[in-house]
Amino acid sequence: MLSLATIRKRWASFLGTFVALGLGVTILAMTALVLTSAEPEVPRRYAGTQVVVQSPGVDQSDGTFTPSKPWSQQRTAELLRALGGVPGVAKAVPDRAFYAQAVIDGKPVADPGSELRGHAWSSAAFGPEQLVAGSAPTGDRQVVVDASLGLAPGSPVTLLTVTGPAAYTVSGTVKSASFYVSDSAAEALAPGVRVIGLVTAPGADVSAVAGAAAAAVGGDGKVLHGDALAELEAKSAEKTRWIGMQILIAMAGLTAFVSIFVVASTFAFAIVQRRREFGLLRTIGATPRQIKRMMYSESLAVGVAAGLTGVLLGALLAPALGSLMVEGGLEPAGFTVRFQALPLLGSFSLGLVVAMLGVWSASRRAARIAPLEALREATVEHRPMTRGRWIAGGVFTALGLGLVAVAADSESDSMINNALYAAMALIVGLTLFAPAVIPLIVRLVWWPLSGLRGATSMVARESSLTAVRRTASTAAPVLVTVGFAVLIAGLFQMKATGYALEETVKQEATSVVTAQGTPGLSDAAVAAVPGGASLLPTQLYAGGTDHVGAVGMSDTAFQKARTRMTVSAGSLDGLKGENTMVVKASTASWLGWTTGRSVPVTFEDGRSVDVKVVAEITDNSSTSSVLLTTGTVRAHDPSALTSVVYTAGTTSPSTLAPLGAQSLSTAEYASRTNSEDDDLVQIFLIILIGMSLGYTCLAIANTLLMATAERAADFAVLRLSGATRRQVLRIVASESALAVGIGTTLGLLIAVVTLLGIRSGLSSQLGTNVNLNLPWSTMALTIGVCLALALVSSVLPARMALRRTSARVAV
């Protein structure tokens, strides 16, 4: 009864909590729905296959999402024989996949995602794929294409593959975005096989077949059936989903944190205002436990209402977030939100937990209010730092600093989220220290102004000092927003200053040829650029699950790059012909690939070849771990596509367009890659900063509205002491500005400490210097918005309060 009545009466102070919680649950429900919907699915190509053998997976800890280690031609043949003999298996079919794209009207047909779309016709059995028209491909120049391309059987079609455009004849059509060629043609185009599908005989026991297949394969592969088939998902889709997940997790984490923060500080502030009421209740017989229970039930009531609203809004908005994620390239195309009860229920419960956590410390404090408090008139706060507060503040600050170290040491992909967690702990620590720290900062911020003799500055300073709670409540959200905004923007502005390979290769180049509408450049496109310096990336598999990225460099590219390289052993002259490599020092010591040795390396075609290490270069010399000649890469990786060609000459666009390539000036190219990076960064920044700014608005407005309404009496006294209305408003404005100043100072402190920690970590990880640029524009914008908000939400209610009191106060 009392709780509900209190909420009805004090709705203004619960409004902030309601909105903060409601917003929090909305975002949580939205992200939870999107997160749970983003589960891997069995690719449609394999829909009709119940047992699949996948080649051995490799180490994923480097976050590059490298596919499994392919089998060689010979090994594939052995496995096919062994698997074909397994009882219940009608046929073992290798999935030979390669890059293929149709060129129609002189342009490659854009391909959503960069998956390999070319396959051998025998693998059509996986679907199973039905011919819509025509017949299966035979010979080297026949292809079955997607019916939606509008090509009838018998018509000619140009296919773009690794080597370049080639003329094919359509033999038939299917209803999927794949290109099927004959098995022998696929064998020539595809790298090593990674998947063998087992077509089971009718009525065969799937798990028995899987067990027998596992025995036949031994350690050289993994047998998948049932739900595990989802592991067949392309690594590229997995990567997209993973990045999207990181952002969603950051969003959800930030939301949960900021809502607890806002709810807790709102409740803490409400306690101060309701001190007398609690004292009265204690006097007439409420036990401390009853006071606590009362606060919890108030919080619960608000939590339930906010939770229900949030879940509803979250469910309504989730599809919008989903399509935003797809558009931003953060979820694979074709992603849709599935509505499930569990994530919604979870978000709702989490909202309640947040409400309970938020009220926890406030209720403890309320329960300690003595009955006599009801009799005391003054609302001077006497909240010295308790011992528990010192300890908790110390623990959280130490935890935060420890997390900074963890973040500095983590992989770049998870670094941002780890840095956010570190900042969260630091924020909690500093907030706990607030009663001790704020008076210090008030004096510090005010010191330059101490020459001012005006009453405004005196009253504003003193009332900020006396009402530490109010000052802290206004400063806290500013602290959170400035801290997070500067931290996130600063993280993205950190750039390695070591020589990126591309930087060195582009010397003297005036134009750049890159892919357009294709995942990379074919050999024909590279050949069309005379005297170009090109880079051909591939993947090398060392022993066990180790693997390393490598780049095949054209002769021109290498001659340019070597001028900036520092050799620590051997000679760069040795990098020529096939099966030679230059290795970066850290990679050499990790894999034992020291100069002069010939080491066994497995390539994308699954074959293992001895490659000679001709030289070691310092880590500063190159961002790529292993350098090869383009010849070596092409000999062992029939599917590698060139990423970029730098040239001093020009190539006509009409030559490049049918090859899926375009020529850009170096300046254009630089701005384009930058802006592509920036786009993602911008989305991320806008989401996170927008969210914390939203909460700041809420928290600041809430605190100041609550406080200003209660201060009408103070204002009246000031007016009676001869202050003009303008002077009172100036005092209120100064107080708000002071609180924003305190929040900004502390927020910057947290952001800079975290950024410095991460910079030193990055520098030692990359072995190069890392620049730390503070994001001045983001900083100015954030602080400006906070200040404007604080001023508006304190001066406006104060003006209204003054107008009301002036009616009563005869001046």
């Binding site: 009864m1 009392l2 004090r10 006097t283 007439i284 409420a286 036990t287 009853q290 006599l372």
Partner: protein, 248 residues
């Protein structure tokens, strides 16, 4: 000055605030009893210890030395929760102001002590309590809709709903005008006469004290004089003036 049958007994009660050189003795070895069914006014200049006496006698504040017995229970040994439970069942309070929870109606305010004790009050009981203070028809109003005198009456009704052994009143008329004060004090007097209610009231107003059966005069933490029986406003005012006069 006290008897073991008295409803509230203070035995050699001393109350000090602070420690060491800064210690202030607010009550100095006070022994006094408040018999059942009597109306006592506690008076004295500011700083004399009259409020401290009330807080200690009511168990709102802990004594430094001595013991306090309320309705046969020695409250010195009770922990915070037990003390709260005793206050809830045996003690009623009326303060100068801020007596009511502003979120609740008059009726809900009166019902509060019962609800805190886990009892569901019945309607008739609440109406009777409000009628007793002359507000039977205003149960649905919130404090902001009631006058100062009406608020104090609701506070009295709430204090009496648990049928306490003793009702403490701390300057109950301090914020009221003369006519309204008269009504509220008459109400208290009536409760003592009709229901044998024990009332202890702190006041600085001789007019208020004139309603009491006995006036205790405090100075410097000691009881310096007791005026027995109903006294006139003039008598009380005279004694007070003598106490407040500067000592030469």
């Amino acid at each position: 000055m006290t008897n073991s049958t008295d409803t509230v007994q203070l035995w050699s009660v001393t109350k000090q605030y602070g420690t060491g050189a800064q210690a202030v003795t607010a009550l100095n070895d006070v022994t006094v009893g408040f018999p059942r069914g009597t109306f006592t006014a506690v008076m004295g200049p500011s700083g004399s210890g009259k409020s401290t006496l009330l807080h200690c006698a009511a168990g709102l504040d802990r004594v430094t030395e001595g013991k306090v017995i309320i309705d046969d229970t020695d409250i010195s040994d009770l922990d915070e929760t037990r003390l709260t439970l005793l206050r809830r069942s045996r003690v009623g309070f009326v303060f100068q102001a801020f007596n009511l929870v502003s979120a609740l109606t008059a009726e809900q305010n009166v019902a509060l002590p019962l609800r805190l004790a886990g009892r569901r009050p019945d309607r008739a009981e609440l109406t009777a309590a409000l009628t007793e203070v002359g507000l039977g028809h205003r149960g649905r109003h919130r404090p902001s809709e009631l006058s100062g005198g009406e608020q104090q009456r609701v506070a009295i009704a709430r204090a009496l709903i648990t049928e306490p052994a003793v009702l403490f009143a701390d300057e109950p008329t301090g914020a009221l005008d003369t006519r309204t004060s008269h009504d509220v004090l008459g109400l208290l007097r009536g409760i003592v006469d009709r229901h044998q209610q024990t009332v202890i009231m702190v006041t600085h107003d001789p007019a208020a004290a004139s309603y009491a059966d006995r006036v205790l005069l405090l100075a410097d933490g000691r009881i310096v004089e007791q005026l027995h029986g109903r006294n006139s406003v003039e008598t009380i005012a005279g004694r007070m003036a003598a106490l407040e006069a500067p000592v030469c």
